[in-house]
Assembly symmetry: C2
Amino acid sequence: MMPRVNRTRFAVLGMLMSGPRSGYDLKKDFEEQISNFWSESLGQIYPTLYRLKEEKLVTVTVKRQQGRPERKVYRITKRGEEVFREWLALPAEPIRWRNELLLKVFFGSAMQPTDVLRHIEQFQTSELETQSLYQHFANEIESRDVSPERRLYWRLALSSGRHINQARLDWCREATDEIRRFTAEPERNRKKSHE
Amino acid sequence: MMPRVNRTRFAVLGMLMSGPRSGYDLKKDFEEQISNFWSESLGQIYPTLYRLKEEKLVTVTVKRQQGRPERKVYRITKRGEEVFREWLALPAEPIRWRNELLLKVFFGSAMQPTDVLRHIEQFQTSELETQSLYQHFANEIESRDVSPERRLYWRLALSSGRHINQARLDWCREATDEIRRFTAEPERNRKKSHE
DNA sequence: GTCGTCATGTAACGTGTTACATGATTTC
DNA sequence: GAAATCATGTAACACGTTACATGACGAC
């Protein structure tokens, strides 16, 4: 069997490339920086860090703090950097699409058109929220003290999200219009495929 | 624990709403009709059909054929339709993003700019392939004998893919330009964040 | 002769989420 | 007094893919 590469490993290693962090920090960074196109849960991060440590791709330092739990700070090793760069050079795997909203729209004829419109409206609302979240991300990028090169790539990754977010919003409007137009045309509505 | 709804069940039930099919047929339909935004493997489909049969949401008829293996044709039951419609009315779950290309672009500063450009180019190539696949899908939709309503929703689901595909292609061009501009500006390149 | 299609199914394995477990401190 | 934050970790479970297993037929 040819198991798919474990991407969590590389997402974690990549984050550690820009400085040592704890598992908890990593979770926050994933959310604040790339939740746009990537997510990891703590239930994935902690075991992954353990395995990376076993493989000597990272090292750990335990930091005791007063009034707070201990922090395990992970630092990437030379070997870790090598392994990360090897993965980075490989072509990216295609995205596996599973869009539940589109599945429901596709099966739309099993609902009332108003129900389909409601689904699209909900989707539109969440995409509008995403849009304002992206503005927040944009501010985040510009306020952080990172190299111009890192900023460039961070901006580009965000920009992709913005393009797609806009495309989704455009589609919402188009879809809403077309469904409304369809329901407003009674003669076309009545016509069946076998006629 | 609150397990996430098994969407394969509903994708299968939804397909069976428009007529009885075998597991093999379902796989083909998923690919030819909605591979755009949904995928299922046979290793998921067969066990799902078995479970749906146990739950009496579908019935089976074995069709013997000469010179070919038996076909098990599944038909959705009244109860199956009810269960499907209940799911259909629920709000769609948000998409869980995991875009490996964007992850690699985000970590771009660990590569040479030319390597990032190569990744984007590969992505662009695959998106151009997708674009022509969508043209094929569009023809497929118009040639099939389905009701105007089903055709409407099928078109809309495809249209979403086309919007996003175009957005990705636009982003590829933008990203390529910006990386080229960055590498062409030597003084900006040299400047570090701590200066 | 090899490959693709038709057709079903199981086994092995990896991926990923959520709940549970623990417990102090800070904020509302 | 409740809830969020800090902080780590395990266990249970669902999701999903690929490989394996079987076997006939038709095309190149």
